[in-house]
Amino acid sequence: MKSKISLFGLIVFLSIFSFGQNTVSPDIPLSEFNMSNISSPAFVLINESPSEVYVPENLKALVVHSTSNFKGGLSVELMPYYYINTESKDRNFLKFVGIKKTGERVSQNPFSGLNTTTISFAYANKEFENFLDDERKVFSVGARTKLLRFYNKQEMVDYDQRVSKILQDIDWPPHIVTQANEANTEEERSKILNNYLESDEGKAKIGALLKKLEIYKKPIKPIFQMDGAIGYSTLFKENEINSATVNRLGIWLTSEFSLILNKDSEKSKSNNYFNFFIVGRYVEDGFVNDGSKLYYRDFGGKIELELGKMSFSYEYINRYGNEKGSRSVGNIGLLISKDISLIGGFGKDFSSEDNLIALFGINWGVNFNNN
């Protein structure tokens, strides 16, 4: 209970902190940039940042989103997979990534990424450029999933076997197991085991095995994946429940090809990738003053150099529909920890006027199942 209260306090603190960091103009047109592909669809739509969306590999059960231009609201993303069938007794690593090994035959289920489906909800009280004069409450729902995913299946089987062979050799001495077994909390057990690992005996017995595991910590990406997302938002024109509403709809499709650059390097601590994205999206925007709707379709691509925790990318997107134009943006991303990342971008947006893009944002995840 105490930890949940602390967690809530942390969320509130971070939210307040983030909302105070408005480093960009509060008047953001619909098409303006936020290339945060870690954002939830609901957030992207409400945040006026329709961009490409894909499903990150380290999705958590519950994620709270915000960026610098997210004022007075909150976005929450849930992953039902981790709340459904928690008592399943036939889980394994290969099944998790959609690979089945029967004897020497290895097959792959390209739809296994559907288990990463998330649903998201967002709320904001904000002013929209060229639409009404003051702040309005806007609500949004969204979902995203990995529609297709192809790993190098034999490499994944080999990976699992190599890691498991190291793990089976890690044998904890009975006196350590006994001590840990008697501890009342996981924190105490973890401390006992980690103290042993830091002792001379632990270093001699297990240290070398843990060192062997280091190269397997590099993140593994599918060769090809296709992610899809949808978001729908509603704005109450008069800030009353029975007042008229206007809506926004966004549909995103993102395909990613990944080429690993340092496949056999044992020295580097991360896998470096050259990524190529194909991005398609459809947006219907009713947040316009004259009662009409804005429709457009975007199609474009992005190249990205992913060097461990840093990523550099450039995207070019063409827009068709009753709004036309193109966008050309360079992005930098930095993963500070596995839960916190910074994103930034600079370039030209779709519109012909005021089309300078300069943005800075932060994203974090919170896991309530962290016992």
């Binding site: 889980r91 793990l167 085991l193 199942n369 016992n371």
Partner: protein, 140 residues
């Protein structure tokens, strides 16, 4: 670290070990004349490797999620300490969620009966967690 310090730590560890062993080690009581086997069932989205010890001697190492080890006649096992650990490594997915959904069951099977031991899961670091058990076999 001096020899005296090492000796002191060793003695403290020994005392702890004896104390814990005496106070709270799980007792697995099995009838006379039984053939005993240990069945391990693991359900996890992490890669796993396990080992089983009998009186500090490793008798089985396995990379499988489900495996069985014949322990032998209860007459030969009486009074012996059996322990097992399963080590998990996470590359894809969130370690906390995967650990929460991981199920590890150690079952002692004899005659038509079985005794199930549950394992506590412990996160070691951002990529690894461990599940283990320790118990003493006694003949009825």
């Amino acid at each position: 670290m001096t020899l005296f310090q090492k000796l002191s730590i060793f003695l403290v560890n020994c005392n702890y070990y004896k104390l814990f062993k005496k106070l709270s080690m799980k007792i697995i009581k099995i009838p006379k004349g039984s053939d005993v086997k240990l069945q391990v069932n693991i359900s996890s989205e992490a890669s796993v490797g396990s080992n089983v010890s009998l009186d500090d001697v490793i008798i089985k190492r396995s990379t499988a999620y489900n495996f069985t080890k014949e322990l032998g006649k209860i007459e030969d096992l009486d009074g012996k300490t059996v322990s097992g650990s399963s080590n998990f490594f996470v590359n894809i997915g969130d370690i906390d969620l995967i650990k929460t959904n991981t199920i590890v069951e150690y079952r002692f099977k004899f005659n038509e009966e079985e005794k199930k031991l549950t394992c506590e899961k412990t996160k070691l670091n951002g990529r690894m967690f461990v599940a283990f058990f320790i118990g003493k076999i006694e003949m009825l």
